[in-house]
């Protein structure tokens, strides 16, 4: 019973962590380019609803994913225009986009509440991989989007740390003036990664509505976008650590759910609070550690870049 229980908890940790993981990866790229995106929650919701609508209409979940990428990307494009071109305050625009995304997704999704989806993502067996004892049921009995995240994480890690594009990205986030003086277009880089970040947030939302739930509920992200923002700090802007962090959050989420089912006498409200309490604790811990080690955020995070500023 204990091993089965452990496998269930770990496997659920991965599925519950995956939407957070996609969103955190998006936020990570955005922040690496020096832009803070507090609109993740809104972008996830827009991704979730547009993904759901298209999947239901076309009966093809992959078209739903595509729609989610476009939806999240468009939201992020607004953010990029406001923060990069107009150099608006990034905190304010991010919060505004979250409010906007919440409202827009509620409005668009109204007719789809309770609508069944027939072609949701379902676990796919990966043959020999899925049969490995313990490892198999934990990691390789999931749906395609989870497998996609297994690929995206190392690819992004390689991109950031080992390629010229990653060097440009990190330089723009650390010191845009030096990147600009060497011919790296700060605006292009920021537009690109802000948009890509929004697309990944949209994908995270779509995972909720097309695989995890799978259904559409108003405000179904329930703060996962905010957890993703906090997670990026915990991950010190590293995709591999973001993956680990997402699964920890997913695990706590899953544990709260199971503990209730097992009849552990803790009020359900407290269990629902767990991920958020954990978020606050993690933030306190990593902020102290970051201060000590000076592994800070990208140097220019939150600062608009203006070449002719004097």
């Amino acid at each position: 019973m204990t091993q089965e229980f452990l496998i269930t908890i770990l496997a659920t940790a991965i599925t519950a962590g995956t939407p957070i993981l996609f969103a955190a990866l998006g936020e990570l790229l955005t922040e690496r380019s020096g832009i803070l995106n507090l609109g993740v929650e809104g972008m996830m919701l827009v991704g979730a609803v547009s993904g759901f609508i298209f999947a239901v209409k076309t009966n093809d979940p992959w078209l739903g994913v595509l729609a989610a990428l476009v939806g999240g990307g468009l939201m992020a494009l607004i953010h990029a225009f406001l923060t990069v071109t107009l150099q608006a305050n990034q905190v304010v625009t991010g919060l505004a986009l979250t409010l906007f995304g919440t409202g827009l997704s509620g409005f668009l999704g109204k007719p789809y509440i309770g609508v069944p989806i027939e072609n949701a993502f379902k676990p796919v067996n990966l043959g020999i991989l899925s049969d490995i004892p313990f490892i198999g049921p934990v990691f390789f009995q999931h749906d395609q989007l989870v497998y996609l995240s297994y690929i995206v994480v190392p690819v992004l890690w390689f991109l950031i740390y080992r390629t010229r594009l990653g060097l440009n990205l990190r330089a723009v986030g650390e010191n845009p003036a030096s990147a600009d003086s060497l011919g790296v277009s700060v605006y292009k880089v920021r537009y690109f990664y802000v948009t890509l970040g929004g697309m990944l947030a949209g994908l995270g939302g779509a995972y909720l509505s097309l695989a995890y739930a799978p259904t559409w509920l108003e405000n179904m992200t329930a703060g996962r976008g905010w957890i993703a923002v906090a997670l990026v700090i915990f991950a010190t802007w590293n995709p591999l650590r973001a993956m680990l962090g997402s699964y920890i959050f997913g695990g706590i989420d899953a544990f709260g759910f199971r503990a209730q089912a097992m009849g552990i006498a803790i009020p359900s409200f407290f269990l629902k609070m767990l991920p958020y309490i954990f978020t606050i604790l993690v933030l306190i811990m990593v902020t102290r550690k970051a201060m000590a080690n000076r592994v800070g955020s990208p140097g220019a995070l939150g600062v608009p870049y203006d070449r002719e500023e004097r």
């Binding site: 010229r164 440009n168 990190r170 330089a171 650390e174 010191n175 030096s178 003086s181 790296v184 000076r294």
Partner: protein, 509 residues
């Protein structure tokens, strides 16, 4: 005729809001020469070079490189045309290694960056020019001189035919400056050209082949070095003869006012903070503190004014122990502080002149009663101070960030000197000011000295220290290497101490 010219800038005009930074400027650079671009602060040198390097776009004018007209839309295009600029504030990513900074933005390194290969190339390239840099070191670990070499290597790696150096010696010791001049002379023997932006006449005479002088955004003259002398250059630069600085008499030093005993304090980074610093400043004394950035100058100032807590030692003011007093308590003890960033810690950028001027005064009875401030009295108080320093303001309520550097510094000084301070801590008080404003600031400090204030003057400009100080102390890695009377402080000697030599060693050599 244009073929012998590497760069030809014609009728360049650039406006900023409220400022005509460049007004029909003409500039020519020949192949293989060192051209000095001489002018005071604010004469438009940096703007002109930012246009040449593609950072700014001119409002009018034409630029020719090797005979072809160009119009740079970005620094990338200027670099492609062979123009590399070394900015005064280095454009480097501190968390990157030297090699990563060098290849940033370059397409030669390949998509997945063959770092080993690049590091080898950089090592070979820098050795060829006698520029010592370790390609694997992280930028934040390097000294200012090393970081400057990285900037030069960065441009050489991109095959620059023309290197523009913006006031390169401002951050260097005299020895380091000489090494730099060796490097750029070597570049010209390889047919590369150098533009040296400077306001120091001796540098022009030392290295330049020709000199172009800017004044108030206009190019006023271009001369062969062999046909000018410093006096003429100074007249061209300022439009008038300068009054030779009168050799002032040394001050009458009284009782010790400010005393530091074995003071240690941490720094913000892994660099040296302060390490067992002991010094004493007497009534009517200006103690100059020299040192390269990152060696504890700022930490010293902040420790004295209570912004940085001590980890050891004690600070006494007129015999009273004030160690680890809060900044407010230190102010009450009669300490004034002129911080290095006048628009950050010195003044509140978005408040008007009145609010900034009463910042240290409003708590005392007179301007306010209880939680209220009497705006009328505050205005009178502010006007009195403004008049005392001779600033002309358009609006008392307009945010002070709109003011020029000189006026900002005058307002800051007016506030800090109003309370008749016993101790003044001034950090780079004339940085970025033009000659007239700098002179006014110096006069104010000298006036306070004759009134008996004990002044700690921290500066990166050795000339300024030699001109004002009675004694000069040198900080190196957080340690005070020694204090010399100004009469014994030759620039060479102070320079060596800034690099870590003991005063005795210097004397022996």
């Amino acid at each position: 005729m244009t073929e012998s010219l590497l760069v030809d800038m014609r009728q360049i005009t650039k406006k900023f809001p409220g400022v005509l930074a460049n007004d029909q400027v003409e500039l020519q650079v020949k192949r293989g020469e060192i051209l000095a671009l001489l002018g005071e602060n604010g004469s438009g040198k940096s703007t002109l070079m930012s246009i040449l390097s593609g950072l700014y776009r001119p409002d009018a004018g034409e630029i020719y490189v090797a005979g072809h007209q160009v119009s740079f839309k970005s620094p990338r295009e200027a670099i492609k045309a062979g123009i590399g600029m070394v900015h005064q504030h280095f454009k480097q990513v501190e968390t990157f290694s030297v090699a990563e900074n060098v290849i940033l933005g370059s397409k030669d390194a390949g998509f997945t960056m063959n770092t080993k290969q690049v590091e080898k190339e950089i090592a070979e390239l820098s050795q060829g020019y006698g520029l010592q840099v370790d390609p694997t070191a992280k930028i934040w670990q390097l000294s200012v001189a090393e970081r400057q070499r990285v900037e030069i290597v960065k441009m050489l790696y991109r095959g620059s035919k023309l290197l523009v150096l913006d006031e390169p010696t401002a951050v260097l010791t005299p020895q380091e400056a000489r090494e730099l001049f060796q490097v750029i002379k070597q570049m010209t023997t390889r047919g590369q050209s150098v533009i040296l932006i400077t306001h120091k006449l001796n540098e022009v005479m030392e290295v330049a082949d020709r000199v172009t002088i800017l004044r108030n955004g206009k190019s006023v003259a271009t001369r062969e070095r062999s046909q000018v002398n410093e006096r003429e250059l100074a007249r061209l630069m300022m439009g008038q003869d300068i009054i030779a600085p009168t050799k002032r008499k040394l001050g009458n030093l009284g009782q010790p006012i400010l005393q530091l005993k074995d003071v240690s304090a941490p720094s913000d980074s892994n660099r040296a903070g302060l390490c067992n610093v002991s010094l004493s400043v007497r009534e009517g004394e200006i103690l100059g503190i020299a040192g390269i950035a990152g060696n504890g100058r700022r930490e010293l100032a902040e420790a004295i004014v209570g912004l940085r807590s001590l980890t050891g030692g004690s600070i006494t003011l007129c015999g009273k122990d004030v160690s680890n007093f809060s900044p407010r308590e230190i102010i009450e003890e009669g300490v004034s502080y002129i911080p290095e960033d006048r628009l950050g810690s010195g003044l509140v950028p978005n408040l008007g002149a009145i609010d900034n001027l009463i910042l240290k005064e409003y708590r005392r009875p007179g301007l306010g009663r209880g939680p209220f401030i009497n705006r009328k009295l505050a205005k009178e108080f502010a006007l009195r101070l403004i008049e005392s320093v001779g600033v002309k303001l358009t609006g008392l309520e307009a945010p002070v960030k709109m003011l020029s550097g000189g006026n900002l510094q005058r307002i800051l000084l007016a506030r800090e000197l109003a309370a008749k301070p016993k101790v003044i801590v001034a950090v780079y008080p004339v940085r970025g000011l033009d000659i007239a404003a700098a002179e006014a600031v110096h006069q104010m400090l000298l006036e306070q000295r004759s009134k008996g204030a004990a002044i700690v003057l921290i500066s990166e400009d050795l000339e300024e220290l030699l001109k004002l100080s009675d004694n000069i102390g040198v900080l190196y890695k957080g340690t005070l290497m020694g204090v010399l009377p100004v009469t014994e402080a030759e620039p060479e000697k102070v320079g060596l101490m800034m690099l870590g030599s003991q005063p005795e060693e210097v004397k022996a050599s």
